[in-house]
Amino acid sequence: MQRGLPMQPTVVLLKEGTDTSQGKPQLLSNISACLAIAETLASTLGPRGMDKLIVNERGEAQITNDGATILKLLDIVHPAARTLVDIARAQDAEVGDGTTSVVLLAARLLKEVRNYIEEGVSPHIIMKGFRKASELAIEHIKSVQITVDKSDPEQFRSLLLKCASTSMSSKLIHSEKPFFSNMVVEAVQCLDEEDLNENLIGVKKVPGGGMQDSLLVRGVAFKKTFTYAGAEQQPKSFRNPLILSLNVELELKAEKDNAEVRVEHVSDYQAIVDAEWEIIYRKLEAIEKTGAKVVLSKLPIGDLATQWFADRDIFCAGRVPADDLQRVVQAVGGSIQSTCSDIKREHLGTCGFFEEKQIGGERYNLFTECTKAKTCTLVLRGGAEQFIEEVERSLHDAIMVVKRAVKNGDIVAGGGAIELDIASRIRQHALSIPGKLQMVMIAFAKALEVIPRQICDNAGLDSTDIMNKLRVKHANGEKWYGVDVDGPEGIRNNLDAFVWEPSLVKVNAINSATEAACLILSVDETVRAPQSEAQNPGPRAPPGTAQRALRGRGRGMPRR
């Protein structure tokens, strides 16, 4: 700025160490940081996507191809790139699937307009164009989506199966798609239709065996808890038992911490000891009187009680994890009791069949044929710890997708078909408007094509070739044509091939990606205040991956 003054020593306005950068170079560097992130993720998209092996600072390895998980593990520090981590997380929370797509889309949107920024187009115009285009895209999805008839349970179920298997096709478990999609759909259908709280689907991991040995328990299963001597004499299977869930410690112990006993005679002493025994016996008798055959408690069940129950053919388990017990109550009915007195029949639950069973190397307590079953448990098997964890993540995604599909049964074809169709619709519209907005909208359309293109690239197909074929199809109104990674043609009608996805996944992905891109474009200056204290600089970024993200960190032009 022109000051009518001779050179002056610099004026210290901000705290020492504050780092500011502004202008176009800053914006461009933010964009390149986002692109670097997207590049790391790109190879995981689609049915032929590759997995990432990430080793954290404690040396634990994780293998995954879930976008949200990868970004979480990468520990990204670049401020602009953190936005992408946020949208992946939001997508994960909102719909649970499509986390990779949303990041890729956001980064691609930025890449497509980078040239315009370099040429000096105002970011505001670009943002306006993006918003318009995303509105148009959502409208288009709403107009083409197919609503599936829920009245026919058979047909509805097959729809859910298809959605689940589409979500799984990009994951580690795609080879066992039919098996797992069946499992996921059944699990979701176990839940209360009104509420669909996915936390009520328990997942237990048992290393060993093959993944086909995984099983769905329509009820609750949990690992055998630590038991005292006497447990082996207890019966291990029941038909129609009454089940009592407690939050009481069944052990000899002080009644109250700050109570004190003063005795005057030796004989009194024995009476006190007897009284302590009496207290626990009264509890146990009260429990027996309820007629319960299975006694579960959040708190420990001691030697004495275990033996006592064994003598009366009652099964007991102490130290049951709180969430497992909660799910038992959901499944068998009744409620958790914090006292042994005054337990009535309605506080007890029941189930068709209870047994303790060997699964792999572990013993499991299984409650099946539950009357009020609004919960279920997936027992996952697999060769390695990491492998099972990845299976769990993949199933979680699939469960979320199925859940969304149950809530609103609108679907679109996957495999890039819907993206291409939106792109061609936006292109059409763009040609009818004058001005710079036209270019921005076309850029948006082009960015959408990244999804089918990346699927092709990852599958080793010639993306340019296939994109051309697909564009022709879409221009002729064949709106459900998408990428086929298996067939010789490379393209197919994905609606007929049952590659289906809930439309909500796409709507949310486009919304989030547009918002994130606009957020990054709207920044014209970065100010970084010095950190108040040098905390330990955080875990080292894993080699190769995050470094690339950090490289795009040029701070642009320093201010004055």
Binding site: D86, E255, N258, I279, E515, D524, R560
Partner: protein
């Protein structure tokens, strides 16, 4: 330029390490330079097309915002003169909650204009006098510029229209939706005498995921946790609010329970259970269906509450508890026991719903028009409304929240003083014109300062135009506006940020109206800040004391 007499060396007035800057060159001009730098920093964030700043504060937290108050709070200005401006803008935030950026820009521009006069040789006190004259004139002229005022009684449409310009300057493109939300929420809690409107009664809950169009207004409160017990949904219920823990009373004084014989020991627990049961039975008998606890809920207490079918919500924040009392119209009770009829509150709907991936508990009152509204039901009118904001990233949600806060503050300001003036820079330009004319009629040196002050006001329309249309357009638009203002009814012409024609528009026609009071304060505070910077002729800075750094308390900024 002022003449400098060489100072005698070696006369030490201050202790070692003191910085002493005095005279025009060293103190005044350098102060102006620092202030100009600060106002340049926030200038690009002004108006609907203002750009965002990415600020990382000393704790490493990320902000993406164009809200000047937030930016200057987080970047930690250290220059003493610039701090004066920061304080002025904070005063504006406290007084009006809006137009903080105007204060910074105006004060910065006034000082820049003063710089030329100082170099020409005018004494600062003459400039101060001129500025004060000009500001008095402008404020009296401002009164006559009011074109309309907020209609009474308030309606949603009229409130939304008045809010729109304020929100547009923060979230351009979303102002319609946000203004609607803020207007709806504010009307829901508007007391019969609007003068008593309290900004604290409009709350914001941010839930990541989805996009802005999913945001809603809840007539009541939303808590980001689930109820403790098994009862999750209650309708038309009496509510008791307790600030204490729901458990067996514990003595504060250390005490032990003395047991003399076995009999006492046996009955000890039973006595405790009986006591609790009686207590909650009494509460249940009084018709209470929902209990809000301000502290921990004991397990035994929970057991009885579940049995009695009473829903329990834990609210740990004292502020939230207070607000909740206003929603249900209850008196918080400091002891556990049945509330009297006056002490108990009433809530229409208590439910747990899923928004995005979060499960939240909602307490709300029904209003006319809702499905289950029952006019004779004796519902309370809620005195707190919550805006549930949805957005893709945390930063975006924070920014949306700031826009909502500004909007609510504007409502408060408008209720105090319902007069509106044309926005979009029209008022500033008209004032500049009138003050310039006034300056021409003055005698003496102060006329120069008055005219400079008038020119400084032009910065508002110029910045609006520069941010929206690019740097070169600023002066063009300002001169076009001057031409328009000469004509009849010219006072309402302002900057057209969409630039459909020549960059000017009639502000009243497009319903771009600002609060007169906000403008008044902005001009007052900016002039005060500028004159106090000018009146400084020496800066004496003591050496910062050594010793360990005092750790900074990072209070939550949302705390009140």
């Amino acid at each position: 330029m002022s003449l400098k007499v060489p100072k005698a060396q070696n006369i030490q007035l201050f202790k070692d390490g003191y910085k002493h800057l005095s005279g025009l060159e060293d103190a005044v001009l350098r102060n102006i330079q620092a202030v100009a730098e600060l106002s340049d920093l926030v200038r690009t964030s002004f108006g609907p097309n203002g750009r965002n700043k990415l600020v990382i504060n000393h704790l490493g937290r990320l902000f993406v915002t164009s809200d000047a108050a937030t930016i200057i709070r987080e970047i930690e200005v250290v220059h003493p003169a610039a701090k004066l401006l920061v304080m002025a803008s904070q005063a504006q935030e406290a007084e009006m909650g809006d137009a903080t950026n105007s204060v910074l820009i105006l004060a910065g521009e006034m000082l820049k204009k003063a710089e030329n006069l100082l170099i020409m040789g005018l004494h600062p006190s003459e400039i101060i006098k001129g500025y004060e004259l000009a500001s008095v004139k402008a404020l009296s002229e401002l009164e006559s510029l009011s074109t309309s005022s907020l209609p009474s009684p308030l309606t949603k449409a009229s409130l939304a229209a008045a809010l729109k310009p304020a929100i547009a300057s923060k979230q351009y493109g979303y102002e319609d939706q946000l203004a609607g939300l803020v207007a709806e929420a504010s009307l829901a809690v508007m007391p019969s005498n609007p003068k008593n409107f309290n900004v604290d009664n409009v709350r914001v809950v941010k839930i990541m995921g989805g996009n802005l169009s999913g945001s809603t207004v809840v007539r009541g409160m939303v808590f980001g946790r689930e109820p403790e017990g098994i009862v999750k949904k209650v309708k038309k219920a009496k509510v008791a609010v307790f600030t204490t823990a729901l458990d067996i009373a514990q003595t504060e004084t250390k005490g032990t329970v003395l047991l003399k014989n076995a009999e006492e020991m046996l009955n000890f627990t039973r006595g405790e259970e009986k006591q609790l049961e009686k207590m909650f039975q009494e509460i249940a008998d009084s018709g209470v269906k929902v209990i809000v606890a301000g502290s921990a809920v004991g397990e035994l207490a929970m057991h009885y509450l579940n049995r009695l079918g009473i829903a329990v919500l834990k609210v740990l924040s004292k502020f939230d508890l207070r607000r909740l009392c206003r929603v249900v119209n209850a008196t918080p009770l400091a002891r556990v026991g049945a509330p009297t009829a006056e002490e108990a509150g009433f809530v229409d709907v208590f439910e747990t719903i899923e928004i995005g991936g979060d499960r939240v508990t909602v307490l709300r009152q029904l209003v006319e028009g809702d499905a289950e509204y029952d006019a004779a039901g004796g519902s309370e009118k809620t005195r707190t409304a919550t805006i549930v904001l949805r957005g893709a990233t945390q930063n975006r949600l924070d920014d949306l929240e700031r826009a909502v806060d500004d909007g609510v503050n504007v409502i408060k300001a408008l209720i105090k003083d319902p007069r509106l003036v044309p926005g979009a820079g029209a008022t500033e330009l008209e004032l500049a014109k009138r003050v310039e004319a006034y300056g021409n009629g003055l005698k003496g040196l102060s006329q120069h300062a008055v005219k400079r002050w008038a020119q400084a006001l032009e910065v508002v329309p110029r910045t609006l135009a520069e941010n929206a249309l690019g740097g070169a357009e600023g002066n063009e638009v300002v001169s076009r506006l001057y031409a328009k203002h000469e004509g009849p009814e010219g006072a309402v012409w302002g900057v057209d940020v969409e630039a459909e024609k020549d960059g000017t528009l009639s502000a009243t026609e497009h319903q771009i109206l600002d609060s007169l009071a906000a403008k008044q304060w902005a001009i007052k505070l900016a002039t005060e800040a500028a004159t106090s910077v000018l009146s400084v002729d020496a800066i004496i800075m003591s050496r910062p004391a050594g010793g360990p750094k005092i750790p900074q308390q990072a209070g939550n900024w949302d705390e009140d």
